[in-house]
Symmetry: none
Subunit: 413 residues, 2 copies
């Protein structure tokens, strides 16, 4: 038995006024996903807890069976893992933005005009060469990610992720001085390091050739790095141990790749998996089918539905759902559901009218050998609520799938 | 977005024999509530835990999102808060009954013949003047409530609510000697204080003019005060902080007002809200609509359905449900459900054939902007069990409502 888990990021929604109170899932044409609902069993799922809007990182921890309230230690670690920084216990990782500050130090643009990946790579190289003074025992790793994003990891003894953000999360104000969130020498030391690095990086970015060029053209300079989302590796037993599972992920999103690496899921890089609405779903389907040959479980993540939701572009959300359906069709046509279990769901609800994650449950469907069926014939928020799986919690989905793979341990005798 | 929560106390029931196995909710005419079920989403809810009969106080803690198993510290505190005693951390509060004891000290009537509020007020004044000997550091507050009920609060250092009841909860036996429930000096001290007060109050009530008058007329004297339900303030974060919520309650019941005050809900007094079957539902509807102008959430509680259930009077229960329906109609006609979320439920099941709270789940319906709908067309125990919300726990209802108000915090990033 093999398993395939497919997640449309932020795919779930609420009734939309201009769709005459249908949801995008109800409005989209998705014959392949609906076919799974017909032959499978459906339900709704509180990914974190009823009413609580999940983050994408905590949601994925839950989807892989880990209680995020117990294991979550901040987002930074996942971003760093996602871009390939090898993280160890005790390291503290930050997700940082290249940003524009004015002459008085006020943040003008938190993304330096959404500077491109090539320029970010070059600027990151400059930051990498800067040496922090006063902390000879601390090693600073700088790794460029997509667009304006840079991962920074501190390695050394006596560090802590319990520090505030330097990023003020708004424009027109100064960069925040980072402070410890708990009264420990580790948190105090880490806060000071971040403050020193922030100053050091402003100094190194000033007058950088890229910024000189931007200034000439009247563009926004990338003259500061905003630290945020301090995180450490969660202390967990990876899926390779707990279920002796050989799993792979196909995703264009660094954060998701990072969460997957943290739980022992191997990242399969796919050309054309962009983490945006332009992603190549056919390439993803092909890669999923291929990965399934050498893995027990393949997880396929599509980010575009969430991007469209945050941007409030309804047509794009429906279009992305239809492309996910295309991808599901590609996978189903090459998978023997007599020897596999296939599940599809969302990691959270992002209503197109709200443009933020909300705490509504998400629909899910599971099809394949052994599942009890129900009367649900469409995969959407309303139909799945009538399904045979009723209402479950996010952390329950993975053990249920593993049960069909015969990989859950009997409790008792 | 605004929110309205309506609770019919003990409104849920089981199939009733003489209703040909319909429940009172199924038998009652309630077009306004059913209209909400039609446009909204329904489900069933285990207010505390499946099979566990909730108290009204623990049920309400759960309905406001607090885990009663973690925060509940006894009923007394809520009764005292409900009648307006300002409670502080460390105070121990009791709900007491004026009762009748015979010459050998046996309890004859636990409610002193349901003595009226006016006489209770006068007797409470006498008790208030009594000074306890041996405990100069303890202040005793005596506050009359409705009918035979009196709240007593002990203020001072080193007190504890971990003491037993003096009230034997039956007639024909002596008043219980209060004992500590835990082996601490605080509990021992508090138990002794209650025993001393019990003696002192018997002494002061003996030969009181009101009792002399009663004796003359052959009525039941109010010659003892039965202490029970020792409680302390729960240590909780009020809703005003956790959700930055400005909330009001409309209820004629001291206990419910007390629970509301303990979680930061402002009490709106309404003339005609009696906490009995005579309550003025039109006045309550008007007050709710008015309170909604200045508050984010208004909670409306109607006690009469529970009174009718405890008394086993089926017609009255059905009648009370129909009056709640009238009230709901009054509220709905003045509320824009495009900008509000409205929920209706019961705090527990009180089957008319059992006359006590039972552990059955209660039905609930939620209507307003953003809710996903379902096929449920009637608000009752059987129909709501087929609803799109499936089955939730009591503590989940409030976060779900807050999610529609955009007031739940995202967990993770």
């Amino acid at each position: 038995m093999k398993a395939i888990l497919i997640v449309g990021d932020g795919m779930a929604d609420r009734p939309v006024r201009i769709l005459k109170s249908k949801t995008p899932l109800q409005a989209a044409k998705k014959k392949n996903i609906d076919a799974l609902a017909k032959i499978g069993i459906s339900g709704i799922m509180d990914v974190i807890s009823p009413g609580v809007p999940p983050g994408s990182d905590t949601a994925h921890l839950a989807l892989f069976g880990y209680d995020p309230y117990k294991v979550y230690r901040g987002r930074g670690a996942f971003e760093a893992l996602g871009v390939g920084v090898p993280l160890e216990k005790g390291d503290v990782a930050f997700r940082c933005n290249l940003a524009t500050v004015d002459s008085s130090g006020r943040v003008v643009d938190r993304r330096a005009g959404r500077i491109g990946s090539a320029e970010t790579k070059e600027l990151a190289e400059t930051l990498r060469r800067a040496r922090i003074r006063g902390y000879p025992d601390v090693r600073v790793i700088v790794e460029p990610a997509t667009e304006h994003r840079i991962a920074v990891v501190l390695k050394g003894d006596g560090l802590s992720s319990q520090v505030s953000d330097a990023d003020p999360h708004m424009v027109g104000v100064q960069i925040n001085k980072v402070v410890p969130r708990v009264n420990t020498p580790e948190a105090a030391k880490t806060a000071d390091i971040v403050n020193v690095l922030t100053e050091l990086y402003i100094e190194r970015l000033k007058g950088h050739p890229i910024n000189k060029e931007k200034m000439k053209k009247g563009g926004l300079q990338a003259n500061a790095l905003l630290f945020r989302g301090a995180g450490e590796l969660p202390e967990i037993e990876p899926l390779t141990h707990s279920y002796r599972l050989n799993a792979a992920v196909i995703s264009g999103t660094a954060l998701i790749k990072g969460v997957c690496r943290s739980v022992g899921i191997e990242v399969v890089e796919v050309d054309g998996a962009t983490g945006t609405v332009d992603t190549d779903v056919t390439a993803k389907a092909r890669a999923a089918v291929k990965a399934l040959r050498s893995h027990d479980l393949v997880y396929v993540h599509v980010k575009g539905t969430d991007n469209a939701s945050h941007d409030g572009v309804l047509d794009q959300k429906i279009h992305m759902i239809e492309r996910i359906d295309e991808m599901v069709g590609g996978i189903v046509s090459s998978v023997d559901l007599d020897n596999a279990i296939m599940a599809i769901t969302a990691d959270h609800t992002t209503p197109i009218e709200i443009r933020e994650h909300t705490g509504d449950p998400v629909p899910f469907t599971m099809a394949g050998h052994g599942v009890r069926t129900d009367r649900v014939r469409c995969f959407d928020e309303v139909s799945c609520a009538e399904g045979g799986m009723n209402r479950i919690n996010g952390v329950n989905l993975f053990p249920i799938m593993m049960s069909f793979l015969g990989r859950t341990k009997k409790f008792g005798a």
